[in-house]
Amino acid sequence: MKIAEINYLQLASIIFIQILGTSLLIIPGTVVEVAGVDGWISQIVGTIMALIVGMMVFYLYNNFPQDNLIIIFEKLFGKIIGNIFGFGFVIYCILSLSTVIKQGCSITGYIFLPETSPLIFFIVFFLIVVYITKVGMNALARTNVLVMLLLITTFLVIIITGVPLLNVPLKPLLSEGLFPVLKGSLSPISWMGQVILITMIFPYLTSGNKKNIKTTILMTLIVVGIDHTLITMFTLGILGLEAKDLLIPVYSVAKLIEIDLIWRRLDVMIMFSWVAGVTLKMSFWYFCTVLALKQLLHLNKYEPIIIPLAFLTFVIAYYSTNNTVELTFYLGKIYPILSLFSYEFTIPLIMCLTLFIRRKRISKDSKEFTP
């Protein structure tokens, strides 16, 4: 089978949607809760830290442009430890994906159809995710570009129409010291650290030269960081610390926007594009999970395991948290620790160090990537 090709724009859109797909609505809430008015500084700190993760990802790509994460594990740590890391990665993927699904379902449920059984959302998302994964990476990458445009438009609409509503000064600066800001930056780092997922699609980046891929990764991270910072600034500037009080602050901001001529109430349109983003984010995560499991089990094709694995993921997601309070707590406080101490920061760091130390003794005879 021919390997799908991903060009720069598609790579950028994958990173963009993969992070901003869910965070666009949620991130100001989790950050403001910890860092208060200085939430936007947390976002800047988070972006800078995420750039380090981006550099690590590129360092891995530079050395293994033809392999993906599972093969890199094997090459770096040997067969046994590599496989353990690989299975850990699958579990990490399933856990993260289940939180994404839970967020997607609970927020769309709350906003679109509050009286409908939540199971319906799970089934709908299940169907679309299975379908997208079956169709494959090529279509996913192309649709990503489309939805990226949609999300950027949404973002710009919020920002531009939000300007007249800004009336709360972002002061006092650092009144509680630097510590809450750093604590608040954990959540953005964990979100933007998800860029580690593109290690799974290295072999697809066939058409690029390395320098361009580096700029693509880092520039996209910076753009996402700017988006995060701006959206947090606007949420704080429009709502003030009221943002702490709300379930989805950005949605509340969108509710205040009035474009008198065309649309008086824009919030549903914003949710409309958010659903698109979250669907594609789920699909990309799921694609990576399936690919990883397929490689670990040495299967020929990944198509036959799509449905059972999706079922497992959705069952875990369905039974993950009981209410929104628990979900917010998990997303804001538990997940950053969990992810940063595993595959988003610590393990990439170990990998890069190992690679740096034993650069010349990496086994060359290992297997090749097959889609």
């Binding site: 910890v34 856990l95 289940s98 939180t99 059984s117 199971l119 089934i123 604590k183 954990l186 089990l297 299967l299 020929n300 198509e303 036959p304 395991i305 799509i306 449905i307 059972p308 694995l309 079922f311 497992l312 069952v315 875990i316 039974y319 993950s320 948290t321 628990e326 707590f329 998990y330 406080k333 538990i334 620790i337 969990l338």
Partner: protein
């Protein structure tokens, strides 16, 4: 509950349909893999039904002390 069980049923049928045209050697492998994945998901479902306990709860109970010290 009815929806859920029908959903499981359809999932199993779709999986079988997916595996059927494969070669014999592959078929066995995929049956084992898919079967174990489905069994794991069923166990998770059962544990939640009986003890009301999920993986997220587990994570929360493990990491809560960390979180409390960091975000206090």
């Amino acid at each position: 509950m009815i929806i859920f069980s029908m959903f499981i049923l359809i999932c199993i049928i779709m999986t079988v349909i997916e595996i059927r045209p494969l070669k014999k050697n592959d078929k066995k492998k995929y049956l084992v893999v898919n079967g174990s994945i489905l069994i794991i998901s069923f166990i998770i479902f059962l544990i939640h039904e009986i003890h009301n306990f999920s993986i997220t709860n587990l994570m929360i109970s493990i990491f809560k002390p960390f979180a409390d010290t960091i975000f206090s």
